[in-house]
């Protein structure tokens, strides 16, 4: 079956759903409108069921609603796919489950109560594979890790055990989980994409580049790790930053030197960036631009679906920031900054 026949339905579906995505103008209006007046924008973005004007709602509840909205989109696309393409999309959704897993691991290792950990979790609905309730009901870390070893997350359990036994920082656990996730995502993208054009690989690879670069800067200049350890902790994949380039960048001695030695187009994009946070924001925007290009010009491929989901995820994150900002009565300028909108005046 050709790509046109295989993706005809998804192509139309993505086109129909992409009108929901928030343009910069709509996002700006959303930031500027008084609380309670955003109804029209919410409706056009298919964000029904949100109660942004309910300040008593706990933050986890808002998070849950947003994830539920995103999962609903995932369900629509997953149903229409099979084989490696379906596997790729399921794996993409798996990211939220890893957030749950990290929250449980972190919570248990730092002795948080079951209720406190549960508050940080989101319901994955049909995508759930983690026995959350069983893990929460464990009485100590060792038991939790033993229980986790009986799930598809056994490799993460082993890694967590090692970190726990060696009393190492929890950030290395987070990094290990993310590394495994992105490496797995890359493998699946490669498997799912046939043909000469490789927009999915460039989309996923772009994300991995961003992750690698930001963490390279953090490991080297915030956590002061050695070049060898920094390099080892990066993801062995990427679009513009391959292993050879990462190897070279890991050995550089300062933040500015790394930025200077980056290959194009990073050097131009990141000119003037002073912190890893700046780099993350700039690369986020670059990733969204690329996703928008794929969405606009892509034809009958999985990359369009992935691009739509990336942008929808961005919208929902930005929306959460706007709602939270308004609830906390932050200034419009501050909210604009939080959602990466250019600050006027």
């Amino acid at each position: 079956m050709g790509a046109v026949a295989r993706y005809a339905y998804l192509h139309s579906r993505v086109s129909a759903m992409s009108v929901r995505l928030l343009s910069e103008d709509r996002l700006r209006s959303l930031v500027e409108l008084a609380p309670g007046q955003e109804g029209d924008i919410f409706q056009s973005a298919a964000l029904t069921g949100l109660h942004p004007d309910e300040p008593s709602e706990p933050p986890s509840s808002l998070e849950q609603r947003l994830i539920t909205l995103l999962m609903a989109d995932f369900v629509i696309f997953v149903r229409a796919l099979s084989g490696p393409a379906r596997e790729f999309l399921l794996y993409l959704a798996y990211r939220f489950e890893l957030s749950n897993l990290k929250a449980i691991l972190r919570g248990k290792m730092t002795g948080q109560s079951m209720l406190a950990i549960r508050d940080q979790l989101v319901d994955m609905g049909p995508f759930a594979r983690l026995p959350v309730e069983d893990l929460l009901r464990t009485d100590d870390v060792a038991e939790m890790l033993r229980r986790l070893e009986r799930t598809p997350f056994a490799d993460i359990a082993r890694e967590a055990r090692r970190i726990f036994d060696e009393h190492r920082d929890l950030f290395s656990l987070d990094a290990a989980v993310d590394r495994r996730y992105f490496a797995g995502l890359w493998q699946r993208a490669v498997k799912a994409e046939r043909g000469r054009a490789r927009p999915l690989r460039s989309l996923v690879g772009g994300n991995i580049d961003r992750f690698n670069l930001v963490w390279l800067l953090r490991y080297r200049f915030a956590y002061q790790l050695s070049p060898a350890e920094t390099y080892y902790l990066l993801i062995p994949a990427g679009h513009r930053l391959d292993s050879r380039k990462l190897l070279a960048l890991s050995q550089l001695g300062s933040f500015d030197e790394v930025i200077e030695r980056l290959p194009p187009p990073f050097a131009a994009w990141l000119e003037g960036a002073k912190t890893a946070f700046d780099v993350a924001s700039i690369l986020d925007r670059a990733g969204w631009r690329e996703a928008q290009t794929v969405l606009r010009y892509g034809l009958f491929n999985l990359a369009r679906v992935a691009a739509y989901l990336m942008l929808r995820d961005r919208d929902l994150r930005q929306l959460r920031a706007v709602i939270k900002g308004k609830r906390m009565q932050m200034s419009t300028a501050l909210i604009r900054e939080a959602v990466s909108l250019p600050v006027e005046g």
């Binding site: 309730e133 070049p227 060898a228 350890e229």
Partner: protein, 632 residues
């Protein structure tokens, strides 16, 4: 018997302190299905017993883990109802925590032993393969002034990245053995960056393999030492297993008592939102069958004395969709009910199709698979395997008996047509007659199914649909008109105005009803009404033709037997009888299964889909048994 039992909405008001006892009492009766009382939410805003519930879930989780660890099966003896206080529950939870921590430590011990075993195994493997390492092991073992050497194992997937990473610190990595997903490697480099390399190795999941000093000279001694360590590990495993056994013996009685206590608490916890309260009073709401109310009231009276108020009422029309369905079948009908449930649960007030299903399924199976001998084999097999097929025994026996009866009508005995004279006729002697009969059977089946649809719509108050719907009276008239017109056209060669009117008028009523009901722009309305009218016509037509398979399979059964006999006749005596026996086994297994599936398919698609909503709620009573589903 033909409809779910009449239900009553129950509101039980009791003192907060006695709510758990009331829940036990309701569970003991086994006829109360709790349901959230949304309408009471404002007046009774509290959902009492939150900490009590949390204690229960915690204790239950610990008990289940302990029972699983000790491989204990609960032998159930229903507990005597009594009040379990929050303090008692908290103490039980604490005790279960202590017991579980003993077990958990034991599990952790076993896990570490397992890891040690693997490690020793890897070391033995290393020992076997050090020969493959082309360097002086004595040098590796000793501390060097300029050289930093590490020997150990890393997960194989980490090797290539680790090689590049250690390269950045001026080290080299040389793998020398691959075993069970682990790569045995030597990492060496100049001294001065030991800390750096140690962190990288840790990040890569490094397991150090120390080289004993005597290895180079006396590897056999090392092997013996490793083997002694392996023996010690086995001894430790035995000790852990002994500990499990001791725990089991020491705590079994107390654990069983804990299980019984928790079973008493479970009904209260399972009430969930069906329990609401304010101050010292609580209200428990739900459903119970009307016929069981006197028994329930008497039981409450016996347990709580006069300290309760029980109000009951009929379900309101707007509640109909939420009322649970409870149908009590005789035991022999249970397997048929199970297959009906497989399709769906009857809505409250809807006709329960189990009886109709049982009769028609058994009849159709016999019609399609009529053979005295094979039917008898099915009956005998069901009886002999009754312990394995359990509640499905009556189902298989009924199908076998039906096959035997139809076998007598067709005069077939293991495919032989002349052992018994046919009471009626062999299907192959007049296939057209068989097809006609199947057609009449199908038409009758569809008419009965559609009449049941009409009945269901009337009970639901959907009168318009019952009268004018495609599966209503107008639909039945349309179908009868089609049958009459077809019959007149074939038998008398006449299809006049009367016959046309018999089809067109009811169809017009059906289309008119759809037109009236569907609100949309004109073009869409025309399209939808046209498609729905077309679907009505096609579904009656195709559903009826679908029943011709009943005749087709009865003919197929005879044809298969003929094929077996043709093959058998080509052989000598022994081969002849072996072929007949194997052929009959083949027919029994393969055709038997196909016919059962086909009969089920006809029931589900031609019958149930016509009149049976199947989207009702099953009646789930509170019971004193420990429900596995009761999770937070």
């Amino acid at each position: 018997m033909f409809r779910p039992l009449s239900m009553q909405r129950i509101a039980l008001q009791v003192l907060n302190d006695e709510a758990a006892l009331a829940a036990q009492c309701l569970a003991e009766a086994g006829v109360f299905n709790p349901e959230t009382a949304q309408s009471w939410a404002e007046r009774l805003p509290e959902v009492p017993g939150e900490s009590y519930r949390e204690l229960y879930h915690s204790a239950r989780s610990r008990l289940e883990k302990t029972l699983e660890h000790c491989s204990l099966r609960r032998e159930w003896t229903p507990p005597e109802p009594r009040q379990v206080s929050e303090r008692e529950l908290a103490e039980l939870d604490r005790w279960l925590y202590d017991v579980w921590m003993l077990c958990s430590r034991c599990q952790e011990g076993l896990r570490r032993i397992e890891e040690q075993k693997k490690h020793i195994d890897q070391l033995l493997k290393t020992l076997d393969n050090f020969a493959a390492l082309d360097i002086d092991l004595g040098l590796l073992a000793s501390s060097k002034r300029f050289l930093d050497v590490h020997i150990g194992m890393v997960p194989a997937e980490n090797v290539s990245r680790l090689r590049q990473a250690v390269g950045l610190a001026g080290y080299t990595l040389t793998p020398f053995l691959h075993h069970e997903g682990m790569e045995h490697v030597v990492v060496a480099g100049l001294r001065g960056r030991e800390m750096e390399i140690r962190h990288v190795l840790q990040a890569a999941g490094w397991h150090s393999a120390t080289i004993p000093p005597e290895l180079h000279d006396r590897p056999e001694k090392v092997r013996r030492e490793l083997e002694r360590r392996a023996e010690r590990v086995v001894e430790e495993t035995d000790a852990q297993c002994q500990l499990i056994e001791t725990t089991q013996k020491e705590f079994i009685d107390k654990l069983m008592a804990a299980a019984r206590t928790l079973a008493l608490v479970a009904p209260y916890v399972e009430l969930g939102d069906a329990l609401r309260g304010r101050g010292g009073l609580v209200l428990i709401s739900g459903w119970a069958p009307k016929e069981d109310l006197p028994r329930l009231r008497a039981r409450l009276q016996a347990r709580l004395g006069g300290r309760f108020v029980l109000t009951v009422r009929d379900p309101l029309p707007q509640e109909r969709g939420r009322v649970p369905s409870l149908i009590r079948h005789p035991r022999w009908l249970m397997p048929f009910a199970e297959l009906v449930r497989n399709y769906g649960v009857p809505r409250y007030g809807e006709i329960d199709p189990t009886w109709l299903f049982a009769l028609t399924f058994v009849a159709m199976f016999g019609m399609m698979f009529g053979d005295i001998g094979q039917g008898a084999v099915i009956v005998a097999a069901a009886w002999l395997l009754r312990r394995r097929v359990r509640k499905f025994t009556p189902f298989i026996v009924a199908a076998g008996l039906s096959s035997t009866i139809f076998g007598a009508l067709y005069g077939s005995f293991f495919g032989f047509e002349h052992v018994f004279a046919a009471v009626w006729m062999s299907p192959l002697t007049d296939p057209v007659r068989m097809l006609k009969l199947a057609f009449y059977w199908g038409a009758g089946f569809i008419l009965v199914a559609t009449l049941l649809t009409v009945y269901n719509r009337v009970t639901e108050g959907r009168y318009g649909e019952a009268l004018f719907g495609g599966k209503g009276i107008a639909g039945i008239l349309f179908y009868l008109g089609l049958l009459y017109g077809g019959w007149r056209s074939i038998e008398a060669g006449v299809f006049g105005a009367f016959e046309s009117a018999g089809i067109v008028i009811p169809l017009a009523l059906v289309l008119g009803y759809h037109w009236h009901r569907y609100r949309a722009p004109f073009a869409e309305r025309v399209l939808v009404v046209f498609i729905e009218g077309f679907e009505t016509l096609i579904s009656y037509f195709s559903n009826t033709l679908s029943f011709l398979r009943v005749a087709a399979f009865s003919l197929n059964h005879v044809a298969l037997a003929i094929a077996v006999f043709t093959l058998a006749n080509m052989m000598q005596t022994a081969g002849h009888w072996i072929t007949i026996v194997l052929g009959n086994v083949f027919i029994l297994v393969l055709e038997g299964a196909i016919v059962a599936i086909q009969a089920l398919r006809l029931e589900y698609y031609e019958g149930f889909s016509r009149f049976f909503g199947g989207d009702g709620h099953e009646f789930r009573p509170l019971t004193l048994m420990w429900a596995a589903t009761a999770k937070p």
